[in-house]
């Protein structure tokens, strides 16, 4: 299986500091990640974990400070590299309505990628009709403007636009944020159907764990820009190897009043990237932190088949996973 997208030790800096003392803040650090053909990989983390910055870097919207991004085996470099990537990969934005130009009709919007990339478009109306059909919107929708759409419809138009050039990879930034439960289910089903029909690979950026469980084959958990755990979704959810992953899962409110969380799984907030904690960066919030965690930063180590975690405790104890799950 060739990787559609392959990130090798990617780091991204953002400018910070004053005009006279400019500094570069490391926001994404040393991230390695692969997305295979037809695979769906989720990047999860709290706000400030660097997940959106990483996605922007993949699309060339943010320069990479170190590391290598490869798309279908070839390194993505320079204008030509990113132009090729953008033709074959599409971005689904978080705020679907805001990502659509208010002055274009839905028909124009879904066929705009052809014009942007100079691709032949012999019959725009037919193409628009086909694209709308693919995402389950009626053809009459083509003459509407974005403000006339509901949140779910705008999201579908965003998907149709992303699919216009038959991409091999879709990068979806919080694809269901702001949608109602019933509409969210429709969007998730649509993503699953398209994946089966077109062999699409997804890189999904989200903090919604229920979504991850449903659509992702693999999950990578980011904390302060570093991958702290990575592995097959089912295995990670069943027995998280990193205490941060366990706390995220335990923090999710469950729709069952008989299973209320009595205790807080995780306290406090993500530390500022201006003041990264010494040692393991999660130790300030970790319920299991020990002396070594304050002194030495753990490496991302193999913890099981196809699984890696960045935790001193996960590495030293082989059947760590089970015991790490934070009890409710």
């Amino acid at each position: 299986m060739t990787a559609v997208l392959d990130l090798a030790r990617v780091s991204v800096d953002l400018p910070a500091g004053g005009f006279f003392a400019p500094v570069r803040l490391p926001v994404v650090l040393d991230v390695s990640l692969g997305v295979a053909r037809g695979q769906s990989v989720a990047l999860v983390g709290e706000s400030g974990s660097g997940k959106t910055t990483l996605a922007r870097a993949v699309m060339g919207l943010q320069p990479v400070a170190a590391g290598r991004i490869a798309f279908e085996g070839a390194a993505v470099e320079g204008r030509a590299g990113f132009a090729r990537l953008r033709r074959n990969a599409a971005l689904m934005f978080q705020d679907a309505t805001a990502s659509l130009s208010p002055r274009l009709t839905v028909g124009d919007l879904v066929t705009e990628p052809f014009r942007i990339h100079g691709q032949p478009l012999p019959d725009p109306r037919r193409t628009a009709r086909e694209l709308l059909g693919m995402v389950g919107l009626p053809p009459a929708m083509a003459s509407r403007y974005p403000h006339e759409l509901s949140g779910g419809q705008a999201r579908r138009v965003g998907v149709a636009r992303a699919l216009a050039l038959k991409p091999r990879l879709v990068i979806a930034d919080e694809p269901t944020a702001g949608l109602d439960v019933s509409v969210q289910a429709e969007v998730l089903n649509l993503m699953t159907d398209l994946r089966q029909a077109m062999g699409l690979a997804y890189l999904i950026i989200t903090h919604n764990l229920a979504l991850v469980r449903h659509v992702a084959d693999r999950v990578a958990v980011l904390y302060l820009g570093r991958v702290v755990e990575e592995g097959p979704t089912g295995a990670v959810f069943a027995a998280p190897a990193h205490p941060y992953t366990a706390s995220l899962i335990a923090a999710e409110p469950l729709p069952d009043p008989r299973r209320r969380r009595a205790d807080l799984a995780i306290r406090g907030e993500v530390p500022s990237i201006l003041r990264r904690p010494a040692g393991c960066e999660f130790h300030t919030r970790c319920p299991l932190a020990r002396d070594i965690c304050r002194r030495r930063a753990p490496d991302l180590a193999v913890t099981g088949p196809d699984r890696r975690a960045r935790c001193h405790l996960a590495v030293t104890q082989p059947e760590q996973g089970e015991r790490h799950a934070v009890e409710n």
Binding site: A185, R213, H214, L254, P255, D256, P257, R261, L264, E269
Partner: protein, 321 residues
């Protein structure tokens, strides 16, 4: 149940739209919340839940018109009091926390100054620095004293929401209304705010009304739930009964399509077919009937409110009287 602190009686609110016609956002809603209780108002966008919440404190947006009904707060009808009387009650009798804590604050004034303003309008003693810091510490702000000198943008979303809750509680209101209090927050911060509200409901001698579309928040936090659809309360029940024995077909469908409860191995998620009806052109009879798998001929006629058990009510022809 003791006498309610706040009760909504047959409330209807509509908005006039430029295309003509009225959007009937809230239709004949009756609800009550008692001391010590957490009431959840659950609904999807366009269900009228935020309009209902705004009506409870009579802060409806311009263009909204109250067609009928009352909001009773300690005997008085909030909707018919003179403006000055309403202002006196807001903060003291009923206070509100909004979805986006950033827009709830003035960006150019410090947190301390704004809290002093809220409190000072009612009571100078509560505006004292020590009292403000104590309230911030109560909602879990570390270093509360220093937080008073900060500006809203210097705080994270979770901290801002805590400050908003502290500000709302300053005057010790009897009813706290929280409109989507965790929607803008990360899951870890959401868990912390739920925890805080649950703690407050235990020690604070009032009632909390939580408005949300998130089933998890309702299950974690509320004692009783009102489910809204197209402007009406279609089902009202104690939280356990609502999640484990839902009676209205809409409640059932909604609970079934939450990705958090569906087995991921099943692949596809159940959906509710069709769309929410146009509130300016509602169908005859039951508003959910066009999407309801169990609809029958009688559903086109006015819907009866059934009472299947204590503290329960369902707006549905299909439920036995």
């Amino acid at each position: 149940m003791t006498a309610p602190l706040l009760s909504v009686e047959g409330l209807s609110v509509s908005y006039r739209v430029p295309e003509g016609g009225d959007v009937r956002a809230v239709r004949g809603v009756s609800l009550a919340v008692a001391r010590g209780e957490v009431l959840g108002i659950m609904g999807e966008s366009g269900s009228g839940k935020s309009t209902l919440a705004a009506a409870m404190i009579n802060l409806l947006p311009p263009g909204a018109r109250i067609e009928g009904g009352a909001v009773r707060l300690g005997g008085a009808d909030m909707l018919r009091l003179p403006a000055a009387e309403q202002r006196r009650l807001r903060g003291r009798a009923v206070a509100m926390v909004f979805q986006d804590p950033m827009t709830a604050f003035n960006p150019v004034l410090t947190i301390g100054r704004q809290m002093a303003d809220f409190a000072g309008a009612h009571d100078a003693a509560r505006a004292a620095r020590g009292a403000l810091a104590a309230m911030l510490a109560r909602v879990g702000i570390p270093d509360a004293e220093r937080c008073l000198d900060r500006y809203p943008h210097e705080l994270s979303g979770g901290m801002r929401q805590r400050v908003a809750i502290a500000a709302a509680l300053l005057m010790q209101p009897e009813v706290l209304i929280a409109d989507e209090p965790t929607t803008a927050l990360d899951v870890t911060m959401e868990a912390q705010i739920i925890h805080l509200l649950r703690d407050l409901s235990r020690e604070f001698d009032g009632a909390i009304v939580v408005v949300t579309h998130h089933l998890g928040v309702i299950a974690e936090l509320c004692d009783r739930v009102a489910v809204m659809y197209a402007g009406e309360v279609v089902e009202e029940a104690p939280v356990d009964a609502l999640f484990h024995d839902p009676r209205h077909p809409y409640t059932r469908a909604l609970l079934a399509c939450d990705p958090a409860v569906v087995d991921p191995a099943s692949g596809r998620l159940p959906v509710i077919g069709g769309r929410v009806p146009d509130l300016a052109a509602l169908p005859q009879g039951c508003a959910f009937a066009p999407r309801c798998p169990a609809a029958f001929a009688a559903c086109r006629t006015p819907v009866p409110r059934r009472v299947p058990g204590p503290e329960r009510s369902v707006l549905c022809h299909g439920v036995a009287p």
